[in-house]
């Protein structure tokens, strides 16, 4: 096979960090090459170099055997390289067709002629099994469909090399399966694909070869078929990784959180959580399982005070907090690892140190008489950075924005656990993280349980719920379908319950 893309000895530096150090990869025609690495390992940087977003300090790039320089994405496009970014670049109130032709609008004189474009998009969509409706508005279609629009954008521009940056991070399990099918179709039609990911199962499902990157360096390239998940995980993290979480004996204590008949409306004022009741005791992890958008977000927001509830009661340690403010709930020792770390969990333009005191900056020793105590804040930051292994370019002084997702999440987890809560509400605590970070965060959550805290875990990852929880509450359309014992249940039963089927084993 002839290589389509060769990146040789690439070096790319950022202040305080070498993102790519002598990295070389080869992509052959018609293959799926996975780039595997932890968050911050340098995968996305490498692809940004290939896509012309960054200029490497050293190294050469060859496309179809010819050495090229890629100063910007337009040149990458001309060379047949396209990229689906993790965060889609779409105009929301434009139609699918309008989005796809944006930048090379077909026109007769000044008049836009979208008909032919629309027809071509439909044909491409059929050819690759994408099933996209060219006239639909972006804001009306699902995230999975939006991703297909991004794929169509590349196909419309005759891209031969397709880069997917963490394509499954935003997808539901069903959508992931469909994406795998689509990528196989693309491959069958002769396209070459680079898949950036840290999810090993996906690599097994799609990729032919896998190049592993760790801390900016290539660890090795393996044929996926001949390599086990464990071997790849070890290459990525640099040590043995256990996929199983060790838990202490189950010794539940008193009820810490008592939710009684809670009803909550969503932002559109429609009932999102209906008469929901649940108890969480100290020393246990209760998992809330469900397909995205079935009331989990509203449940968590009602519990943490970010959203008012219509009826029902929220009692923590015997105190009724139904009408309490966010501040009062924090003071009542509720900690919250939010669903969206960048929207809720961090002030991205603040330093790590400033973010570590987001909730408790108003108390001694972090402030006295309204004045901040910078020494105490810095000391706290250094303690948490050390204890939770938060890696950044400039330590406590790094802006949160500059941290990788995994390190941002570790910072939040560290902050919340360090507040020594009675109730820890963890929502999607490992979303978008690599195995190393997932293992680490899981261990920390279980530690909290073993230390006698009550933990409410809300997650869309069924594996995570099954691994960590003692009991599992399943929600569907805002209603509690049932509560099952994690030891005796399985993926099938929960899957059925998530679809709204009430099965036995209610306790």
């Amino acid at each position: 096979m002839q290589p389509v893309v060769e990146m040789l000895n690439i070096r790319k530096e950022f202040p305080g960090i070498v993102a790519n150090d002598d990295v070389s990869i080869t992509l052959n025609r018609g293959e799926v090459l996975a780039l595997l690495g932890e968050n911050g390992a340098g995968k996305s940087t490498l692809m940004s170099v290939l896509f012309g977003l960054y200029q490497p300090e050293q190294g050469t790039i060859r496309v179809n055997g010819k050495e090229v320089r890629i100063p910007n994405p337009n040149v990458a496009g001309d060379l047949g390289i396209g990229m689906v970014h993790q965060h889609f670049k779409l105009v929301h109130n434009f139609s699918v067709t309008e989005n796809i032709v944006l930048g090379l609008e077909p026109s007769r004189g000044p008049i836009l002629t979208l008909k032919e474009a629309s027809a071509r998009i439909l044909a491409l969509s059929k050819q690759y099994g994408l099933d996209v409706e060219p006239d639909a508005k972006i804001e009306d279609i699902s995230v999975g469909m939006q991703q297909r629009v991004e794929i169509l954008k590349m196909l419309y521009r005759h891209s031969e090399v397709l880069i997917f940056d963490e394509p499954t991070a935003v997808l539901t399990p069903q959508e992931i399966q469909e994406l795998v099918k689509i990528m196989k179709n693309l491959q069958a039609e002769g396209k070459s694909i680079i898949l950036i990911t840290h999810k090993l199962k996906e690599i097994k499902a799609i990729a032919d070869r896998c190049t592993v990157i760790r801390r900016g360096k290539v660890v090795g390239t393996v044929a996926v078929a001949d390599t086990s998940l464990e071997q790849m995980a070890e290459m990525m993290v640099g040590r043995q990784v256990s996929f199983h979480v060790e838990k202490g004996p189950f010794r539940p204590g008193q009820v810490v959180l008592n939710i009684e008949g809670l009803s909550v409306r969503n932002s559109r004022k429609l009932p999102a959580l209906k008469s929901f009741s649940l108890e969480v005791r100290s020393g246990e992890i209760v998992g809330v399982a469900g397909v995205e958008g079935n009331g989990q977000t509203e449940l968590v927001e009602a519990l943490t005070g970010l959203r008012p509830s219509d009826s029902g009661r929220i009692v923590v340690d015997g105190h009724d907090l139904t009408k309490a403010s966010v501040r009062q709930r924090i003071d009542a020792k509720i900690a919250h690892i939010p669903e969206d770390r960048q929207k809720r969990g961090l002030v991205l333009d603040y330093t790590l140190a400033e973010n570590f005191v987001l909730e408790n900056h108003g108390r001694p020793p972090y402030s006295r008489n309204g004045f901040l105590n910078k020494e105490a804040i810095t000391a706290q930051a250094e303690k948490l950075i050390e204890a939770f292994d938060v890696r950044s370019g400039e330590g406590a002084r790094s802006k949160a924005r500059g941290l990788s997702g995994g390190n941002q999440q570790k910072a939040i987890v560290g902050r919340e656990i360090d507040s020594n809560p009675d109730l820890l509400i963890a929502v999607q605590p490992t979303r978008g993280l690599d195995v190393g970070s997932i293992e680490y965060i899981h261990k920390r959550l279980v530690e909290q349980r073993d230390a006698g805290k009550a933990v409410l875990l809300v997650s869309l990852e069924l594996d995570e719920i099954l691994d960590l929880s003692d009991r599992i509450a399943v929600v569907c359309r805002g209603e509690l379908v049932g509560i099952v014992d994690a030891k005796t249940t399985n993926e099938n039963q929960i899957g059925l319950m998530m679809a709204g089927v009430k099965t036995g084993a209610l306790d």
Binding site: P15, G16, T304, G305, L306, S325, V326, R327, R329, I330, H336, P338, K343, R344, G345, L346, V347, L348, D349, Y350, E354, L358, E359, H361, G362, S367, G370, F371, L372, K374, G393, E394, R397
Partner: protein
Amino acid sequence: MNFFFRKELLVGLSAVVLGLAAGAILMAVTGNNPFAGYFYLFAGGLMNLERLGNTLAMATPLILTGLSVAFAFRTGLFNIGAAGQALMGGLVATTLALTLGLPKGLILPIILVAAAAAGALWAWLPGLLKARFNVHEVVSTIMMNWIAYWVTYYTIPTFFKGSFETESRLIPEAASLKIPLLTQLFSGSYINLGLLVSLLAVVVISVVLNRTVLGYRLKAVGYNRFAAEYAGVNVNRHIVASMAIAGALAGLAGATFYVGYTSSMQIGVLPSIGLDGIAVALLASNSPLGVMGSAIFFGILQSGKGFMNAMTKIPPEIGDTIIATIIYFAATSVLIERWFDTMAKNRGGKNRV
């Protein structure tokens, strides 16, 4: 932090240098000698104590409106209503100065507090509208500007008509921020106690923004209101507080302008210190100390342009054009910053981290 500060400073200074260069080209194109032009421009602002005093007097309200805009901006709000807030501060100050017959030591604190309160009120309302109904503060503060304009337009001739229909009576000596000591020290210039007020405000705002819980929360709300809400900060209350503080600063600016720099209040003009405050804040990258520096620089240009015009054939509008050009370069400071970054990298990354 140090590095950041240095870079901001560097960018600001580059904007100034580029603006001056553009001004030089303009002077040359219009057939004048730019060296002579700049000599007289700066001499006009600095050459003796009187002129220096006038420069500082000119800078005084600009420091305060610049702080007002910078403070709001640091907390995520765009206060385009400093003019109206200053006008209301000035109107209240003028009213008190013309009605209260108290000794200087008593009346000045009253005037300053009342002017700050009036400005705060004028910005509090847009803050409340923003917090409650998500009305954008740019729109509401502009509207408040015009309300202030017409309120003044009605009040001054109706109650405090002076020798002209468009002017109030002269402020009595006892109610003026000018004091003999300063006036004599600077050989009869317009300099007044407002300068001390503005310098004090620079220190206070700098401390509030960088060292206090309030500043931390206000900035957190400005950067990411969702995270602030998550952390238990009352977002709406902080938005209102931020606008009110910004308004109080602009109100003080009004007092220093109308009962300090001038001695009577004119109607039919929105004070230019309002919009100039935006320029001052922009050039200063919203840092309080920077605001002081850039306001003084603008003060030099403002008070020097007349002298330049008198000594050469360069029209005073060139001075305004230079200011406008500097603002333009400050506004496009991203480009200057990028250029510095490349420079730093080419020198082996010495200036980084």
